[in-house]
């Protein structure tokens, strides 16, 4: 178990969003957290990435409490890409990706050949090598998103937490990003945790699916076990048919419509 949340309590100010949640992330897997808006999936991801300190419980990285590890050491093991990050105006793609090397740099070693190759590798994996000198604010939404992913890749971490990495992307680019995630996992053995909204893509690219509602984990397991018609009703208040994806054989959700009010949970 590489990353574990043990009985965590999470919130902002005096508002509690997640209380007493347990979750484990196995090494070498792709885990996706799904759930309706406001269910606490991003909050959970932020806590796993030590961006949010739990007010109760603990998060363990390789068995050690993450908040007691030096943050720079964590940054060499664990990369986090928050939702909709922003960059100062005029920053070029290459400069942004180079900033992913931040945890590996010291004041006397600002730019090693290792940094250089990590940045090049990250840029070529996302297909951005030719856009290196373009300012980020001139790119399309999809290119910008890929540039941010490149930054997280350049960080060179075993573990990668991505909060909605496919927002702003058209379907083709969504597939491209998720194929990239699959390669990271299958070729490089990285462990990935994502928050996704598209259930069908989540089912297709995920080993382990975690469904949340109201700050609690409702179901977890392989997509085939989790994505059932009953669960969709329970978690999303959605009436849907689940059929077999003709390409991959994974579950395919075909929405029917919202559940009639009496059947809704709240």
């Amino acid at each position: 178990m590489r990353l574990r949340a043990v009985d965590v309590k999470l919130g902002y100010g005096d508002r509690v969003i997640v209380d007493g949640l347990d979750l484990g992330i196995e090494a070498g897997t792709v885990t996706t957290i799904i759930g309706p808006n406001g269910c606490g999936k991003s909050t959970l991801l932020r806590a796993l990435g030590r961006l949010l300190k739990p007010s109760g419980g603990e998060v363990l990285l390789d068995g050690k409490r993450i908040d007691r590890m030096p943050t720079r050491e964590v940054a060499k093991i664990l990369g986090v890409l928050p939702q909709a990050p922003t960059a100062p105006e005029g920053l070029t793609v290459a400069d942004l990706v180079a900033r992913g090397r931040h945890p590996h740099q010291t004041w006397y070693r600002q730019w090693s050949s290792g940094d250089e190759s990590a940045v090049n590798e990250a840029l070529s994996m996302t297909g951005l090598l030719d856009l290196g000198e373009r300012p980020l604010d001139e790119l399309s939404g999809g290119q910008r998103q890929r540039a941010w992913i490149s930054m997280a890749l350049a960080q060179g971490t075993d573990l990668l937490l991505l909060d909605e990495p496919t927002t702003f992307l058209d379907l083709a680019h969504q597939i491209e990003v998720l194929e990239l995630v699959r390669r990271l996992h299958s070729e490089l053995g990285r462990t990935v945790v994502m928050v996704l909204h598209d259930l069908n893509l989540a089912a297709r690219y995920t080993d382990h699916l975690v469904a949340m509602r109201g700050g609690e984990v409702v179901a977890a397991g392989p997509p085939g076990d989790v994505l059932t018609e009953g669960l969709l009703a329970e978690v999303f208040d959605l009436a849907a048919k689940v059929i077999e994806d003709p390409v991959t054989g994974t579950p395919l959700v075909v929405p029917v419509g919202p559940l009639p009010p009496p059947a809704r949970r709240d």
Binding site: G11, Y12, G13, D14, R15, I17, G38, S42, T43, R46, L52, P82, Q83, A84, P85, T86, P88, E89, D137, D163
Partner: protein, 387 residues
């Protein structure tokens, strides 16, 4: 992390593209931050309907009461000390105190109330247009323009003609301040206009223009006699000493004329907080709204400065205090104005009593009272966010 109320107004005047400090954090906190705020209640009379926030209304009432009480307390002080009852009696009655109260003390007190309200309102509008909590009428060129004109005349007339004459002191200086303030604002506005009025460019141009005025003012203070510098400093600080009805009336007219359109424009100000694309999408003509709101702020600040000098800190702090008292998303106009009035009147009370019989200019005290209170509000907001 930080106070929700602060998160709601990012400090980096954000553009369409460049979003604030930590967008992700903000995104994560705002839905819950809303919880701290009081929801709006609809108020419908016939076809008209407004939304009223109970918390803002309560804060406004408290501030109104505080202003009235402080004004009355201030009117007790003077060569003939009076009790509160005597003050009230002198206002309604016809006794020997009637003249003193009605002709000397009441106009001074009212000048304080109105000037404080006008400055605070101007500050609230400026901060909303610039989307920057550090913006104030100083940035619009008003107060620096007024200051440099008045200092120039004080320094020039003293050595040549043995001090400004009676007409100059009573009529000339306010008029000069008014003209200086308007010219300063015109300079900022013209230089900032470039096929449209961008809040960000307005603020930066304003800083540049103000720097010129301010540094020339510093230089003028060094070339004259040190006594003139002292007299100029009193005016620069802002003073209510000897203010009469002739100071009350212009500010009152200014407020009466400018407050209704400013309040109407407030709805558009809410829209202005978004980027220009969104604003246009919401059906607001952004350049027109911005220009009119800036004009209102300029006029309010100019009139107030002409009456009492550029009283420090009110325009900047009152909107920020009001923002935190009401938990609103942008500086609320009415509450800001009332905060400004209360702050100015309270400061004048302290300015006259603290070192009595020496009287300090009111502008020296506004910051001494306002700054600790603003800091207290900042700290409290952070405490709340943590607990």
């Amino acid at each position: 992390m930080s106070a929700p109320a602060e998160k709601a107004r990012p400090v980096s005047a954000p553009a369409e593209k460049a979003t604030p400090v930590s967008a992700s954090e903000e995104k994560a906190t705002t839905p819950y931050a809303r919880d701290h705020r009081v929801r709006e209640r609809p108020l419908r009379i016939g076809p008209a309907s407004w939304t009223v926030r109970p918390r803002s209304a309560a804060v406004a009432l408290v501030l109104l009461a505080a202003t009235a009480l402080l004004t009355a307390l201030g009117m007790r002080i003077g060569d003939i000390p009076m009790s509160l009852a005597q003050v009230v009696g002198a206002v309604v009655g016809d006794g020997p105190d009637h003249f003193v109260v009605m002709e000397l003390r009441l106009p001074r007190a009212l000048t304080g109330v109105l000037v404080g309200a006008a400055l605070a309102l101007a500050g609230a509008v400026t901060q909303a247009v610039a989307r920057n909590p550090l913006a104030s009428p100083d940035v619009l060129g008003v107060t620096p323009g007024a200051s440099v004109s008045v200092v120039a005349v004080i320094v020039a007339t003293s050595s040549a003609a043995g001090g400004p004459g009676g007409t100059l002191a009573t009529l000339g200086i306010p008029l000069l301040s008014l003209i200086g303030g308007l010219v300063g604002a015109l300079a900022v506005y013209t230089l900032a206009w470039r096929g449209g009025l961008d809040g960000y460019r307005l603020v930066l141009v304003g800083i540049g223009v103000s720097a010129v005025f301010t540094n020339v003012k510093y230089w003028l203070l060094t070339i004259g006699d040190v006594n003139d510098s002292g007299r100029a400093m009193v005016w620069i600080s802002g003073s209510l000493n000897g203010r009469g009805w002739e100071h009350v009336v212009p500010v009152a007219i200014g407020l009466a004329v400018l407050v209704p359109p400013a309040l109407l424009g407030a709805r558009s100000l809410d829209a202005l907080r978004f980027g220009d694309d969104t604003v246009t999408g919401l059906g607001v003509r952004s350049n027109l709204v911005r220009s009119l709101m800036v004009l209102a702020a300029v006029l309010l600040a100019s009139v107030a400065t002409a009456a009492a000098g550029p009283i420090a800190f009110v325009a900047l702090a009152a909107p920020q205090v009001a923002l935190r008292l009401t938990g609103a998303a942008r500086p609320p106009l009415v509450v800001s104005a009332l905060t400004g009035a209360a702050l100015t009147v309270a400061a004048d009370l302290v300015a006259r009593t603290a070192f009595s019989p020496v009287e300090l200019p009111v502008g020296v005290v506004t910051a001494v009272l306002g700054a600790p209170y603003l800091i207290y509000l900042l700290i409290r907001a952070r405490r709340k966010a943590r607990s």
